[in-house]
């Protein structure tokens, strides 16, 4: 399970850049006073400090950092220490140009930005390892340092000759013989056959851009090379004997990397959470943010850290709105409810210049503690102290939704019925939201996850089946699971090569259905589903569907719903088949939210899964964290009106309103002791 962080309380604090204020000791001193006032117990430093830590090659200047860490520690504040590889000093890229990236058009980048380094470059790896080792030696046993923060928000890709060469090696290792690659990649199409691995080049808009298998493997390689880079950083630290756990901060639904591949190499998952509150109704945004929390938690199926969040308005969105009063607290406690052991901010003190100078901060340019933001941050600090006992408690979801990055990559690049938008994310989100509306904890999983923990498994648009996923689904159903599978599933293998003989591949007997055609609808078109009289789930309404409508032949399944319109009116749309000990539902079209709400209500009842809360009104979010001795029920009202959430049983309110009535943005936390 990796090394454990020794904290015992929820972390509160965030990113801090003292190197920007070394000429202002008065400010550095004031900061600590403010931190304590705001119940800040943890500070992250070092993310972009390389130029200050090694101002010239080989000239290491760690004193200022030591002083900061010591001062914080003296005041009871812990440090998360970052390796500085997220941005390089100018001298480094001037002396060793190979460290700068080459983009997909084969243009060499100039110095600038942040994530602008080749993950393959031996020089860059060596220089990073060297400074990491020195940091490890200096701070690796410091009692104030509780976590290594490896680099910052890994991302992007490089197409330099070094990466090309590495990619070829990676492919050779994967495919062995070039003939095998040709066959798996279907290179005979358009005469794109390779005679040797040395002929392969990464995808480019100036060259090969439509060989989907190449693009998919390139994305896999980018992930693996990034992980490998991170592992090299961790190894450099470990060489020094430091036993402090490691993490790296991930990003919201970032599609440049397959985060599941980071699972083994970090000790704890952490991520940066920046929902766009107040753009639409808050409960919609909360569901979206909640799914990301669940996705991050599910990577290791363990508590995680919210490494960054914004105490006020961001400065990098098109429109950067203020958080309304109460929003910061509710959003912070949402992270805890979903399994975070921290509320950390970017940033503690605002930079005076450059591109993030207007990003919200606990302490702004004005510099006082008499601000609304400072007061609200303090309120969060107080709440976290009250909730200290939930630290380390876990989430035991009985329902899961498949949301796999490789599937996402393949599906979007596939050139199929809709090139404008397949609406994959929306389809996943609708099913996630329907399960959450039942008050259920939900894991958001990849194809690599074990399935046996779940009673309900939603598998939307699983276009790509990797490593015989069809067999794992079959076994899951056979052994009693309830599977909800949709249109556009089981079409290709992991190299985007189509299965022959009918789809959903390997599951036609499990579902009793074979997909025959798929119709794409223009944005202004829709079809409808009409439930069959007396269907097993009691569906009664007419539901709208849009975008994609699959036609199918039913060999052996109950039809629950049929199409209402177009030439396929009357054709099957939703079916059910009992298979082994379990159930297989198949949904043929991109249905509206109300359908999924009703479907999963029925499915949950059938599967006997239910929430600790008696009822979950629209806009309310319910989560459970479990420790050895207790269950903690988090109830949050993200709607814009007052709600009543009845809860029965014996519990103690450890945070909240003292009533089943919650005003907008209010939170209750109820503790149920285990008998």
């Amino acid at each position: 399970m990796g090394r454990q962080i020794k904290y015992g309380h929820l972390l509160h604090g965030g990113d801090y850049n003292p190197e920007q204020w070394l000429d202002r000791p008065d400010i550095l001193k004031k900061d600590i006073e403010y931190f304590k006032e705001a119940k800040i117990n943890t500070v992250s430093v070092g993310m972009f400090s390389w130029a200050m830590l090694e101002p010239e090659e080989g000239n290491y200047q760690f004193d200022w950092l030591e002083k900061v860490i010591d001062s914080l520690y003296a005041e009871g504040i812990s440090t998360i220490l970052s390796t500085p590889s997220g941005a390089r000093p100018k001298w480094l890229s001037d002396k060793y140009p190979e460290v700068l990236r080459v983009n997909e058009k084969r243009e060499k980048n100039l110095f600038g930005g942040r994530h602008n380094h080749c993950y393959t470059s031996p020089v860059y790896r060596e220089k990073v390892a060297e400074i990491d080792r020195r940091l490890g030696e200096k701070f690796g046993k410091h009692p104030g340092v509780i976590l290594w923060h490896i680099s910052n928000e890994f991302g992007g890709e490089c197409h330099c000759p070094l990466c090309q060469e590495k990619f070829r090696e990676w492919l050779e290792k994967k495919y062995g013989m070039i003939e095998n690659l040709n066959s798996r990649w279907c290179t005979t199409f358009w005469s794109h056959r390779y005679q040797s691995f040395s002929q392969i080049e990464s995808p480019s808009s100036l060259g090969e851009n439509e060989l989907h298998a190449l693009k998919l493997d390139w994305k896999r390689f980018v992930t693996e090379q990034t992980v490998d880079f991170m592992k090299a950083e961790i190894a450099a630290l470990r060489e020094t004997g430091t036993e402090i756990p490691v993490t790296t901060n991930l990003m919201y639904d970032y599609d440049g990397l397959d985060y599941k591949k980071f699972r083994e190499d970090v000790d704890i998952i952490s991520w940066d959470n920046y929902p766009g509150w107040h753009k639409k109704e808050e409960w919609l945004t909360a569901t979206d943010a909640g799914m990301q929390h669940d996705l991050m938690r599910s990577i290791r199926k363990a508590p995680f850290l919210m490494m960054e969040s914004c105490p006020s308005a961001t400065n990098w969105k098109p429109i950067n709105k203020l958080k309304k009063p109460g929003m910061l607290l509710a959003a912070s406690l949402q992270a805890i409810a979903h399994g975070s052991d921290s509320v950390l901010y970017f940033q503690l003190r605002q930079s005076q210049g450059a591109s993030e100078k207007f990003h919200g901060a606990v302490i702004d340019h004005y510099g006082g503690n008499d601000t609304r933001v400072f007061r609200e941050v303090t309120e969060v600090g107080e709440a976290l102290e009250k909730l200290q006992e939930v630290t380390g408690s876990v989430t035991c979801a009985k329902a899961a939704v498949l949301y796999d990055r490789e599937n996402d990559w393949a599906l979007k690049d596939a050139q199929g019925p809709r090139n404008e938008d397949m609406h994959y994310q929306e389809c996943v989100l609708k099913q996630y939201r329907a399960l959450r509306a039942e008050g259920l904890d939900v894991d958001v999983i990849s194809m690599e996850h074990a399935l046996s923990d779940y009673k309900i498994l939603a598998v939307p648009m699983a276009y790509l089946f990797s490593e015989k996923y069809e067999e794992r689904l079959r076994e899951y159903v056979a052994q009693g699971g309830t599977l909800v599978l949709t249109y556009w599933s089981g079409l290709v293998d992991e190299t985007d090569k189509c299965f022959l003989g009918g789809t959903p591949y390997g599951l036609m007997d499990v579902t009793g259905v074979r997909s025959t055609e798929i119709d794409a609808l223009f944005d202004w078109e829709s079809n409808h589903g009409i439930p069959e009289h007396g269907n097993r789930l009691g569906l009664q309404k007419v539901y709208e569907c849009k975008n994609l409508c699959e036609l199918s032949e039913v060999s052996d399944a109950e039809v629950l719903m049929r199409y209402a319109d177009d030439f396929y009116a009357g054709s099957p749309l939703v079916t059910h088949k009992a298979y082994g000990e379990g159930h297989a539902y198949y949904v043929g079209a991109d249905m509206e939210q109300a359908f999924y709400d009703d479907l999963f209500k029925g499915v949950a009842e059938e599967a006997g899964v239910k929430s600790l809360a008696e009822a979950v009104p629209e806009g309310v979010s319910v989560n459970v964290r479990q420790s050895e001795n207790a269950e903690y029920l988090f109830i949050q009202n993200f709607s814009r009106k007052e709600v009543v959430v009845p809860v029965t049983g014996e519990y103690q309110e450890i945070y909240g309103t003292g009533s089943e009535v919650l005003a907008p943005l209010q939170t209750r936390v109820l503790k149920f002791e285990r008998k």
Copy 2:
């Protein structure tokens, strides 16, 4: 007229890629069974087979192809054999980088895609010629091979040094002296004068991008160089003594090439037809597709081949809809009605991978013949057998619309009244549609076409007059033709140099009108035309006009209609003048469809041109093909309601409903024997 294809029946079949299935002889065998079941008599092979035909330089492997062609022939199925130049093997571009294109920004392409080869490169030409010769030797007298298919969908351009040099030679040949070029191109503007041909560079967004004459000549050069490349391929085949005719497949309204320049060098025109059915009402799409069929037929004024069409949904449009039942048959017979001697599909069997894996096919990944698509393809096959006698019959249109690619290029690049959109294509289409609504066969012609066949000639927005077109129009009218000329005509010569002294150049006396100013309207603006009381065509309605409104001085013409709004209310908008034996109508603004419908109704009556059908309801398409002994009247209902199309005279229904009533998408073919 070029070599004739020896078929005697309508071709049915399409693109086939057996090289993708060489490891599956069971599938290759099954394919032939299926072809026969679906009445498929023709198969196109070899388009992108170079890597399989010459896997390494000089190592030719034709056995697999021979086996395929023999097997097909043995079962009565003919082969259209493609030269493989549409995509190169990797070894070729690795060894001879000059074969890859350079784009207009002077970036060298990498290997990838399809049309990514320099048409000038001597090496590429040599390598192509070599494999073409070997194919010619091997298959050039094979009884199963009925047509050479040169490359595939020629297109794109290259700005490499070889092309630059060739362009300079081409210009020197055209202009002789640099002073002549300077004068014709108006290079004194902005000091862009050249001292020698060697100074000239192709247009580039990094350099010369506003010298319209340069850009126009560059486009002409690209066409000529492409044709020259094709001619080199044909010559290589002919060297081997093969007498099989040649074609190359053209594309829908492709503006990268001037297709009229292909006329002399192919034996038959063929093109790839992919209308976006069901996006708007089918009859609108049918008119659009019909115009393209007519354009392709008009290139050689002879029957053509529909070389590709989609049996199901495409996969490369933003939204790829299924064809509704009956659509495939109607669209296939539309091609025949407009002069095609074939219905060929892309593709017979779906690829298992890469960018076209989801493009519709006769046989899909499922692999069975028990699919809707397979049944509908078979239905087409049966229909074509019934229509066998129309093979080779011709279209004798009495009306024509000018739609010239050079005019299109010049007009769009001109920087005149509207840079957003001049609505040229729409203007052409409205006039085409109005003529077709009268039930007339229509040729869609370029400025090079002879005019004497036509009683009615629509000349919309003929901005550029090449090679004294004004004199040919004058003669056409003088000898009895009816010309409908519009605004924005006769402004520049073939180097985009403005005529002095008034426009429409050379036709001010023929029309009795001189254009004085042109007003551009914003998209939200419109003006209106009010007919003059008692005008010769009996126009009575008020019509809307948009986008462009020309003001003119009438010297000597009847005003049929005047503007209703703005400061030019009351000014002439539509005029008529009798000139010589004929009539010249002039239309001053971008009128709505209804105006053109009424105008051409009157003009057709006046000219005494009419359809074989008594009446043509909206949404119905009527075409006539003529053989030595008979006329074949095709009636197709592309509307969404039942229609009655009365036909008098003595005829025999060789395909259809047996009644004058046609349901949506139904087709009748009536044969009128010549007395």
Copy 3:
């Protein structure tokens, strides 16, 4: 004040390209006849004549030009003579590639376009100086030449190695020590610290693109380098002893250069005016154009020249509409009203080819004088003769609006509350329009302008305060001025480094307000302001605000208006504080036009500033020019209905309708003699 043009009358004429017609002496002769007929007294030549003046290196051919200037002079027509540096001959860029630009992606341009030359290149400067000197020698004392026109519409930037080097020198001169630059630029952020000036590179999308101070200094450098280039041209002319004054033509709201830096080096400001008439109501366009006239006049606070304007439709806008009858005259007289001493057109005769062939001209391709445009141009000529006595009279505005280019650059690049659009220009325009609605003359000034002339000073969104602007504003108010300051003011210094301690920096005591937070609104959101009962300006309506809403703490000010909505309902929105002898108003949000109209009505009354006209109906524009002996009141009706503009006092109508009633587009000019 620079050299004076010796004219004594208003200039009428414009750009003329005789070099395009040297083979048509008949046309050149006809042109002069037409010029005289249209009262054209001034012609601009030579803008893009380099290739004709020096067809090969060192071979100068000035005879044709001399002949043209002599012929014009013989007929009483003056010449404005341009240096030809706006476009280079092909031989020059072929022989000396360094003269061509490198773009920000470090791509070397090819020959083409116009402004495609490096302003740093020593070779380019030398070649330009040489031809300028020769022109100076030949024409510098010619009695027909009245003005040197340096190059044409300076603009664009170059990132070549020569410019990089110059930029580094410029920075070193500015900052002295690299540590100073690091500190001012806040380079510690993201490890972007420099160790030496030699490490610095210009901004690039392939490299450094988010260090705002670098980008701001780069823009300043581009302006300075452009001015330096212009100064080198002027110096070359002056070397020859010519005493003719110089100008260069500026462009509409061009944001690539900071025009205030041209002030010292030209003798008179001139600019090219192309409003998009008839896109919206004419009076809205007139206000917009009026602000640009005022901005240009304010640069030197002196009469200017309208160097270009279009006699008909342009050809480079998306939609190029015809000017309706009367529009040309009204727009031409508007220039005079705002301080221009000329009405000059681009162009006198239309080019026959290339990119501007359809740009409107006095003489078009038809070539006659019997056109609407020619008649209207003649009408302008006649009007200018009637107004001859206003030549050289000045504008004495009592109100000013700050619109500073450096502020514009910084504000747009800042990455703050709204990255989509901060609506800066609109905010400036609303305040300008409100002041003009009161009939006031308005200066549009930069932060460098002296403030003592003004009774009212509008300072909208002054994000950046350069060179202690806060102190100048404080002094302005203290000494009796009325300041209207808005939200988002006083946040950063001239290197975009945030002020600490509260904003508006240095003015919290002057305004009695400290800004605490700023909310960004989505486009579909709005808030409202509710006036306080009995507020000093008598504001009574509820006004809408959008986009940006600032929250503030009021220490010591009268609140005039409060927010109506959202969580900050009831918070202060508009305040007033008397400070010293003056008044400081603070506006917290992006208010609608009606608010500013009412605010400035009250402010003008309070400040005792008023118009010569008794009332100014909506759509009417009123301006005053003053000579030693008289005031000239220009009244123009840009609305679409007849208006009455009452004027009292003793005056003489020197141009107009003879009545206080003005039809749409009519103009009156009234002369008030000084007693």
